[in-house]
C-alpha cells in the first residue's frame, strides 16, 4: 500500500499574483481581477450615491460637493484608469477566449511558439490604447481644471 500521508503543496492565492518568472499575460490577468473588483465596489456605491438626485437638488449638490475634494478626485481618476484598462483588456480577452486570436493548432517545432505569441501584437496594441485613454482622461481630470 502507498503511504497515506501527503504534504499539501498548493500555492494558494499567492499563485494568482504570480511572483517572479511569469509571463506578462499573467500580470495582466491579475490586474484584470483587481480592477474588476475595484470597479464593482465603486459601481455599487455609485448606484446608491447618484440615486440621491431623486430626493432633491440639494442632496445631489451635497454629495457632489463631498466628491469634489482632491482625495475623491484622485480616487475617481483611479476608477477611470481601472475602467479603461478593464475595458480594453476585456476586448482582448473576449477575442482570445472565443478563439479568434489564439491561432490554429500547428505542429510544434522547437523552439516552441504558442498561442501567446499569436495574441502578443493584440496585447501590445491594447496596452497602448489603454495608455492613450488613460492619458486623455488624466488630461481632462487634472489639466482642464473645471
Amino acid at each position: 500500500m502507498l503511504q497515506d500521508k501527503r504534504c499539501p503543496n498548493s500555492i494558494g492565492v499567492w499563485g494568482w499574483l504570480g511572483g517572479g518568472r511569469w509571463g506578462l499575460e499573467r500580470y495582466l490577468y491579475t490586474l484584470h481581477r483587481l480592477t474588476g473588483l475595484g470597479i464593482l465596489l465603486y459601481f455599487i456605491l455609485h448606484i446608491l450615491v447618484t440615486s440621491s438626485r431623486v430626493f432633491s437638488e440639494k442632496a445631489w449638490e451635497t454629495w457632489m460637493g463631498v466628491f469634489s475634494s482632491p482625495v475623491f478626485k484622485i480616487g475617481e481618476f483611479l476608477v477611470y484608469v481601472a475602467f479603461a484598462y478593464h475595458a480594453i483588456n476585456g476586448i482582448r480577452l473576449i477575442l482570445i477566449e472565443l478563439g479568434f486570436s489564439v491561432g490554429k493548432a500547428e505542429e510544434p517545432i522547437y523552439p516552441y511558439k504558442s498561442s501567446l505569441n499569436v495574441q502578443r501584437p493584440l496585447m501590445i496594441v491594447s496596452i497602448i490604447v489603454a495608455a492613450v485613454l488613460i492619458a486623455a482622461g488624466g488630461y481632462d481630470f487634472f489639466a482642464l481644471a473645471h
Binding site: 522547437y110 504558442s114 498561442s115
Partner: protein, 278 residues
C-alpha cells in the same frame, strides 16, 4: 539559442526535502554539486544521490523528455529535470522543489493522481455509437491530413503536470480540471472520428471546467512538448459557446473506408493476435 560555453564549476543545489515518516513540513537542504557542461538537473540530482545522500527521492524514467515523470519546480518555474541544462538556469545556485499544486509524496515526488483522474473524467478517447464497428472493425476511418492537423499538436502531451503546476486557478481550486485534461478533451472533440462532444460538454462546461481559465497563459509557457494547452482551452470554450448558441456546426463523423479489394495477404505476414482485453 546561443549558449555560452561554460567551464565546469561547483553549483549549490537548494533542495526542498520532505520525508513523510519524520517531517511535518518540507525543509530546504543544501548540496554542492560539481557540474560539467552538458549536465542536466536530473544528472545533478543523480550525483547527489550517488555521492552525498542516497535517501533523496525523485521520479524519472526515460531521462530524455518523453515519459513525463520528472516534472519539478526549478528556480521557481515548473520544468522537466531531464530536459533542463543546469547552466541554462544557474551559474552559482539553483532551487529544486516538488511540483506545486500536487501533494508531495516524498522529497521531489509529487502525487499526480488527481491529474490522471481528471484526465479520465473528460472521456479522453474516441467515443462513437457504433460499438460493433469499434470491436470488430471492417475498415479504417477516413481522416484527411488537414483534419489531423487540427488536433495533432495536442496529442503530444506526456502528462507531466507542469501546466497544472503553473496554473493560477489550480493554485487555489483543487477541483478545477486544469490545462492538461481540458486540452485533451479538445483534442478528442476535434478528432473527426469522434462523436463524444455531448458527453464531454457536461464535464468541461461545468463549474470546474473550461470557464475557470482566464488566459494567464502560463501552461503554454511551461509545457515541454509545445502542446499549448491554453490554445486548446480557448478553442474548447468557443465550441461550448457555439453549442450553447446552437451555432455549432454539425459534423458527420468520419466514414469507414472499405477494406482494400482484390489484394491477397502475403504469406509471411502472420494473422493478427486475438484480443488480449475483453
Amino acid at each position: 539559442m546561443t549558449r555560452k560555453l561554460q567551464k565546469e564549476t561547483d553549483i549549490t543545489f537548494h533542495i526542498r526535502r520532505y520525508n513523510p515518516d519524520v517531517d511535518d513540513k518540507p525543509h530546504w537542504q543544501k548540496f554542492i554539486v560539481h557540474v560539467e557542461p552538458g549536465m542536466t538537473v536530473l544528472d545533478g540530482l543523480h550525483q547527489i544521490r550517488e555521492t552525498q545522500d542516497a535517501s533523496l527521492s525523485m521520479r524519472y524514467s526515460c531521462r530524455m523528455g518523453v515519459c513525463g515523470s520528472c516534472g519539478m519546480l526549478l528556480n521557481g518555474r515548473p520544468a522537466l529535470a531531464c530536459n533542463t541544462q543546469i547552466f541554462d538556469i544557474a551559474s552559482k545556485a539553483l532551487t529544486v522543489a516538488s511540483l506545486p499544486n500536487f501533494d508531495i509524496v516524498k522529497d521531489l515526488v509529487p502525487d499526480l493522481t488527481p491529474l490522471f483522474s481528471k484526465h479520465i473524467s473528460t472521456y479522453p478517447y474516441i467515443v462513437r455509437d457504433d460499438a460493433d464497428e469499434m470491436l470488430n472493425p471492417t475498415g479504417e476511418f477516413f481522416q484527411s491530413p488537414d483534419e489531423l492537423t487540427e488536433y495533432l499538436q495536442f496529442t503530444y502531451c506526456i502528462k507531466c503536470g507542469l501546466c497544472m503546476a503553473a496554473c493560477p486557478t489550480m493554485a487555489t481550486d483543487p477541483n478545477y480540471l486544469g490545462p492538461q485534461p481540458l486540452a485533451q478533451s479538445y483534442r478528442y472533440t476535434k478528432d473527426t472520428r469522434d462523436d463524444g462532444f455531448n458527453l464531454r460538454k457536461k464535464v468541461v462546461g461545468g463549474s470546474h471546467g473550461a470557464f475557470r481559465c482566464h488566459y494567464a497563459g502560463e501552461c503554454s509557457n511551461v509545457c515541454p512538448k509545445g502542446v499549448d494547452p491554453a490554445r486548446a482551452i480557448q478553442l474548447m470554450k468557443r465550441e461550448l459557446v457555439l453549442d450553447y448558441l446552437k451555432l455549432r456546426k454539425h459534423r458527420t463523423k468520419s466514414a469507414i473506408l472499405g477494406k482494400p479489394e482484390g489484394v491477397k495477404r502475403r504469406p509471411e505476414i502472420p494473422e493478427a493476435p486475438c484480443f488480449t482485453k475483453e
